[in-house]
């Protein structure tokens, strides 16, 4: 009955939601919506594609500012909203970031406001990953020194598009759902 405009899950409302501007009353209606409308993902991609200043095809959003996009050369890479490219999405994008590690109480106190109620420096370091392009803070890890970087998310893109969305990607392949992070560190070691 209701027109696309009238629906709470309208493209307009989704855009506002993404910008954090959708009034709480509408957000609640969205949360209550079950099941979610069929075309949600496609609307989402449209909005995101309109939002970013570049043209590469967005395949998936993986963080506030990070997207997996398909380049004209058919590669699938992680790209920041600012346009900076962080390499093959199968390699932990943190390996393409600028890294700052907080180790002292003073450095901790800059981001956690109540001393001593913050992680104990004898067991923890705070790792911050910045986009080399726009210097935005893309990720934070609070772990002991020496802990391998956490690969936040490796999506099974082919399965997702083929089996869940019923619209297969044209460049499907075995290789796409593999963690290749260690190949990168191997290269680093060898190029020594």
């Amino acid at each position: 009955m209701a027109t696309e405009k009238g629906k709470v899950s309208s493209k307009e409302n989704l855009r506002l939601l993404i910008e954090g501007k959708l009034p709480w009353e509408q957000v609640k209606e969205l949360i209550r919506e079950y099941p979610k409308e069929e075309d949600r993902f496609w609307k989402y991609l449209e909005i995101l594609q309109e939002k970013v200043p570049w043209k590469d095809k967005i395949l998936m959003r993986i963080s506030d500012r990070l997207y997996i996009v398909r380049k004209s050369d058919k590669s699938r890479i992680v790209k920041c909203e600012c346009g900076y490219e962080l390499g093959d999405y199968r390699i932990n994008w943190k390996l393409s970031c600028l890294v700052y590690v907080r180790k002292t109480s003073e450095e901790f106190a800059e981001v956690y406001s109540i001393q001593p109620q913050f992680p104990d420096v004898q067991f923890n370091e705070i790792r911050e990953f910045y986009c080399p392009g726009c210097l935005a803070l893309l990720g934070v890890e609070v772990v002991p020194a020496g802990y391998p970087l956490m690969f936040e998310m490796l999506p099974d893109l082919d399965t997702f598009y083929r089996e869940w969305l019923k619209q297969p990607l044209e460049d499907e392949g075995e290789e796409w759902y593999q963690d290749k992070t260690v190949e990168q560190t191997a290269r680093w070691l060898n190029d020594g």
Binding site: A2, G6, E25, Q26
Partner: protein, 720 residues
């Protein structure tokens, strides 16, 4: 003195946000109904109009009625509407240092408004907006010791642990006056066992207020609600400060008007559980839902006692609020710590909950985002753009869609401007949304109806009833008008209304027993090991409490015109097994205990009966002994209740003169001509087949296509 028994009339009032209804009952129980638009500024005026309007039907002057009136009970939703529409006084709070956020944190009870499945989705949890700006809460260093689970084993309850820091009080009061608050509430921890700090703080506050010549009231939590649990007590205190004080001012005006028109006694109002109190009552917040309570009691009297329909969802839709109450298996449950409008407070009240929704509810249209939101504000008696209100309301939509008759509002006493409404709704709703005006309007009604349905299921969850076993009863001026929309898709057993739905709450106030409720805390411990003598000694405390309360009752009832011989008593106790924390109410056969036999009969048997009526036998623990915690006395005076007639059934076909013609109505996307009937000529047995509309000076029944109304011998109109 002439006691009220010689008087002829009873006046029962339900002052809603939009209409003030008057039910006048004469000696034979015959009733007439009067109505007037509520006057929020001065309720005395709408009160007088409403009484005068009723008096006209019996060709009498209001003064004659007032002189002949024994009981005048003024119930309503004034206070409730202030709370729902957040239009109360600017309140400041002085509280124990360290508890400044008590109203902001509100105990993390962020799910009270949600249904069973939604409570689980904690992403939907949210706080009910506090009626006090967190910046207007000021800390005062002080602490008093509370009671202990191990009596006698620690510092006595009420001992001062931290003396009152008077400079904190002064600083706080000064700041609050600077902030321009109209009333200051004071809540200190454990003040209910020792109010010394609250009283002293109040003294200081009043001094400063006087020095500064400010007009600020001071209210103490122990005066308003002297029971444990700071968060709930704070809520009660805030309702008293925010909503009850302004409401009480109105009640006193009304009493003044009634007296100057010849009424001889004191005006009474309704507590939220149906007991009557004098309008000077200092815990006026306890009458928060006096009006809706009337409706619930009326439904119990009329549908349950007389028609034995045992499980009822009572829904009162007025211009401003939508009140939903529940009667389960004939019982109206009185809750001591109810959840109401998203607040959990200490306030004995019937199982009723309200939201801001009605024909006066404002429609907000966000022209940028093309979005519609409803309320909570209400046009109240100004109805909408079709009458005196600047913004569009639900009433405007009912009008342009053809549900309401612009020529017949209050029987034509008020003309509604359909053209204007159409213009305004087009400009403010349809154009911004880029939709057809009628399409857009019915979409907004859909939203209203689903909001009301949500409120019903929410209330049902809170009261733990299965909606399929319940009958939906729609009343209030707008109840029958939206009954079709609310009942749609709601799996209730049946849906009905009555011809006098518009004034049903007032009818309920008239039908209610006239009684006062008195309670006194006692501690009467009957441990298994105790000797009979020891037990009887314990019972003395109870005997004394009952007697005290009886005396109190005599005095108050006298002022309302009832001599001692016209007052009768019922007795009760709150009791528990020793060790338990909750106590249960048990009515008891007598108010005196003279022997062990009495004790067994009056206390033990009554308690066990009440307890096992709720719990399986396995929950009993007689071996641990009993403790009586509260003595209860209820003082009753006879009064004439409205009589209900049984009518002969006439044919299904309504008589011709009831038919007023046809009217174009917009429904499910198209216009069609609907039959229009006049309510009064309709008879028991008549079937009114939809699409049709039944009009009455005070309400309108909408019957969509494929639906119909069947009227039974009690004139109950069944919607099928």
């Amino acid at each position: 003195m002439t006691t009220s028994q010689s008087k002829r009339y009873q006046i029962a009032i339900d002052a809603g946000g939009t209409m003030t209804d008057c039910v006048l009952v004469d000696k034979d129980g015959e009733i007439v109904v009067g109505k007037a638009l509520s006057n929020k500024v001065n309720e005395a005026e709408s009160y007088m109009e409403s009484v005068a309007n009723a008096s006209e039907y019996i060709n009498t002057a209001s003064s004659e009625v007032h002189e002949g009136t024994a009981i005048c009970t003024y119930a309503g939703t004034t206070m409730l509407n202030i709370l729902l529409t957040l239009t109360g006084q600017k309140v400041g709070l002085l509280t124990t240092k360290g508890f400044e956020h008590v109203l902001y944190m509100e105990r993390a009870l962020t799910w009270l408004h949600l249904s069973y499945d939604e409570q689980m989705r904690q992403s939907l949890h949210e706080h009910t907006p506090s009626v006090v700006d967190v910046r207007n809460v000021k800390p005062v260093a002080e602490r008093i010791k509370g009671p202990s689970y191990y009596p006698g084993a620690h510092i006595p309850a009420g001992s001062v642990l931290v003396p009152l820091r008077e400079e904190d009080v002064r600083k706080g009061v000064e700041e609050l006056i600077d902030a321009g608050v109209q009333v200051i509430g004071i809540l200190f921890i454990h003040s209910y066992v020792n109010p010394a700090h609250e009283s002293r703080a109040a003294e200081i506050a009043r001094e400063i207020i006087q020095q500064r010549g400010a007009d600020v009231r001071v209210v103490l939590s122990y005066e308003v609600c002297p029971v444990s649990m700071e968060s709930q007590r704070a809520k009660s205190l805030m309702v008293q400060c925010f909503a009850a004080l302004p409401a009480q001012a109105q009640l006193l005006k009304v009493e003044q008007a009634a007296k100057s028109d010849g009424f001889a006694y004191e005006l009474t109002t309704f507590l939220s559980y149906g007991a009557s109190v004098n309008v000077r009552y200092h815990r006026m917040y306890e009458s928060l839902i006096s009006g809706p309570a009337g409706g619930l009691i009326g439904a119990q009297y009329f549908l349950n006692e007389i028609n034995n329909i045992d499980s009822i969802i009572c829904t009162d839709l007025g211009g401003t609020s939508y009140d939903v109450g529940v009667i389960t298996k004939g019982l109206t449950n009185i809750e001591a710590e109810p959840v109401f409008a998203g607040h959990k407070m200490n306030l004995p009240m019937l199982a009723i909950d309200s939201i801001g929704a009605g024909t006066g509810t404002l429609i907000h249209v966000d022209t940028v985002l093309k979005r519609v939101e409803l309320g909570p504000e209400s046009a109240g008696s100004m109805v909408g753009t079709c009458y005196k209100y600047p913004d569009i309301t639900i009433g405007d939509l009912d009008l342009i869609l053809g549900y309401l008759n612009p020529e017949y509002f209050l029987g034509g006493a008020i003309k509604l401007d359909k053209e204007r409404a159409l213009f305004e709704v087009t400009e403010r709703l349809a154009k911004p949304l880029g939709q057809d005006v009628y399409e857009a309007s019915s979409r907004v009604l859909d939203t209203l109806h689903s909001k009301m349905r949500d409120h019903i299921s929410g209330t049902m969850i809170a009261r733990g009833g299965n909606i399929n076993d319940f009958t939906l009863f729609a009343y209030g001026g707008s109840g029958p008008l939206h009954m079709w929309g609310v009942s749609e898709g709601l799996n209730v057993r049946a849906t009905c209304t009555v011809p006098w739905a518009a004034a049903f709450s007032a009818f309920g106030v008239a039908a209610a027993d006239y009684f006062h409720n008195y309670q006194k805390s006692v501690l009467c411990v009957l441990a298994a090991a105790m000797s009979d003598d020891a037990k009887l000694k314990e019972c003395e405390a109870l005997n004394q409490a009952w007697q005290e309360l009886e005396e109190k009752a005599y005095v108050e009832m006298e002022a309302e015109g009832f001599s001692r011989d016209n007052v009768s008593f019922r007795y009760g106790i709150y009791a528990r097994y020793i060790g338990q924390m909750a106590s249960w109410y048990a009515p008891v056969p007598s108010g005196r205990i003279g022997s062990i036999e009495d004790m067994d009969k009056v206390i033990i048997d009554s308690f066990e009966q009440a307890y096992t009526s709720i719990y399986p036998l396995a929950a009993r623990m007689p071996e641990s002994g009993y403790a009586v915690t509260v003595a209860v006395v209820q003082s009753y005076a006879d009064k004439r209740k409205p009589t209900v007639r049984i009518h002969e059934l006439s044919d299904k076909e309504p008589s011709k003169e009831a038919h007023k013609g046809k009217r174009a109505v917009f429904f499910e996307g198209e216009w069609s001509d609907w039959d229009v009937w006049e309510m009064d000529p309709l008879k028991a047995g008549n079937h009114i087949i939809g699409p049709a509309i039944i009009e009455h000076p005070m309400t309108t029944v909408v019957i969509p296509p494929r639906k119909r109304i069947e009227i039974d011998p009690y004139m109950i109109m069944w919607f099928k």
